[in-house]
Amino acid sequence: MVTVNFDAELALVGPDPGAASLEKTLSIFRYGAVRGVARLLAAFAERHVTTTWFVPGALVVRYRSLLDEVVSAGHGLGCRGLRLERFDRLSKEARLDTLRAARAALDGLPAPGEPGFRLPSGEWPRDLASELLDEGFEWSSSWTGDDIPFLVPAGDGRSIVEVPFGHTMNDRLAFAWNFAPAIPPGQARIASYEDVLENWRFELEGTRREGLCLVLQLHPEVTGTPGRIDLVWRFLDAVLEPGDAWVAPAADVAAWCREHPPAGPEHPVDLLRRISPSSLS
């Protein structure tokens, strides 16, 4: 499953509105809209891959024509709040208002499939699964901790389908860099492109060996550069070449999982709900 987080300038301004004056730094993120999106769309089109794009609702107006290109190419959509809010720092009412407004913004785009949700950052509030269902989101891709989709309980026998990812498969963690403000906080060196591609191929090999679900997270300003788009091409080639991988948008994966719920021992997300101190419920 290939996903794109199209955060654009909100990656900086969402969590820190005071950063709106940092025009040079903002231009790092604007690069995705100016160049990166087109490169990613071309790579996906050449290889006939349908992907899922997570978009903060507040960007829909600003980048309407770009997003029209995304959905008209058949890619699905997911919600990333209105402005990449930290949901664990919002009241229940604010979370519901944010989800409703973001949903309304996404519904303005004629995307195929049901839109899902990806938590921008921070922790998962205890009631978020039921709030998402109430606002019409049936699936999420926000957690780590598994190699296949699982169900996050929402109470009253309801659940939301979660399609989890691993941190290795995230281009931002490998490559994003800025001088001031410092990104990443310890200003680690930009990783070796070839080594990151090889890490991705290791995970692909392990995923194929056991028949699991691999989720790649791309960011247009990160892998949409002239040099790094090559990693996307070559990784997609590695995925597609054997001809045995189902490359699908998240809505389709979630729907399949809903019809074929995972069997096996109690999932940690259920264990957690069972053993959490009752003072928290």
Partner: protein, 298 residues
């Protein structure tokens, strides 16, 4: 003992490898202070260890025919008893690693004793055994800890960094029956792969290392240990180094060790018993900084 001394290991084996995994799961400082209960994503990321990664590792070890040592906090045993029984039933060893992965340096002598006793009771209840091995959770212990371990019948600790051979620990001036099996950070997967969003790990959110580089480093440390006739043990955390892709790397490392042919792949208890029955081949050492070093054979 010279750097490449005479025969040290059984059956003329040239070196010793104690493959070891720390199955922390979601335990650790966030569980000790209770904050984990408000961090469901962090909990599930940690639970990946006993839930998904340990079964994958057991399959791997069976394929290559190697036995290993698993250090498991008793809280993890309580919540994943059948996975832990599978570890024992597959011929591997389970050792002590705290109840909730407490930092021994933060515990009083009485608290250390009660964490050990409580954990041993849980091991007996769920696994029908008591731990003979100990690995410090989260860093340091206190100077009383080795005495408490010896009194409670532990055979060995695998916690320190100060040698590439096992040694007998000197406790309060006397050579004890407690063996130390030092574990180098170079074979700790946290130094390469561990990553959490919040709280951030590594602190500056450094990059995840190249799998190829980690594998190469691990193989080089084995090659050198094998050349010098020492012991190498690992601090691999299933939740960290047994994702589908990293398990491929792990398997290549174990294959590299097995392919050497004449390295003794042993569990912690096997190593400790060997050291105690061949005491003349191993050094003794212990005490806190400022104490005299007590060195047996050099």
């Amino acid at each position: 003992m010279a750097l490449t001394g005479g025969p040290v290991w059984p059956d003329g084996k040239r070196s010793c490898v104690m493959l070891a995994f720390d199955v922390d799961g979601p335990s650790g400082s966030a569980m000790v202070d209770g904050s984990i209960w408000r961090m469901p994503r962090l909990f599930v990321q940690g639970a990946y260890g006993p839930f998904r990664a340990v079964p994958r590792i057991l399959d791997l070890l069976e394929r290559v025919g190697v036995r290993a040592t698993f250090f498991v906090p008793a809280w993890v045993v309580e919540h994943w008893p059948s996975v832990c029984r599978d570890i024992v039933a597959s011929g591997h060893e389970i050792g002590h690693h705290g109840y909730k992965h407490e930092r021994y340096a933060d515990l009083s002598v009485a608290e250390q004793g009660s964490v050990l006793e409580r954990s041993q009771a849980i091991f007996e209840e769920h696994l029908g055994m008591r731990a003979l091995g100990f690995r410090t959770p989260t860093g340091d212990w206190q100077k009383e800890t080795p005495r408490i371990l010896a009194e409670q019948g532990f055979l060995y600790s695998s916690s320190f960094r100060d040698d590439d051979r096992p040694y007998r620990r000197v406790i309060e001036g006397k050579v004890s029956e407690l063996v130390e099996i030092p574990a180098p950070v170079e074979l700790d997967d946290y130094a390469y792969f561990a990553y959490t969003e919040e709280p951030p790990f590594p602190k500056g959110h450094d990059r995840i290392a190249a799998y190829r580089v980690a594998l190469s480093n691990w193989c080089k440390e084995f090659d050198g240990t094998h050349r010098d006739g020492g012991l190498l043990t690992t601090t691999f955390h299933p939740k960290v180094s047994a994702s589908p892709g990293r398990a491929v790397v792990l398997e290549r490392f174990v294959q590299h060790v097995v392919t050497a042919g004449d390295s003794w792949l042993a569990t912690g208890t096997e190593v400790a018993r060997w050291v105690l029955t061949h005491a003349d081949r191993f050094a003794s050492r212990g005490g806190t900084p400022g104490d005299e070093l007590h060195v047996g054979q050099q």
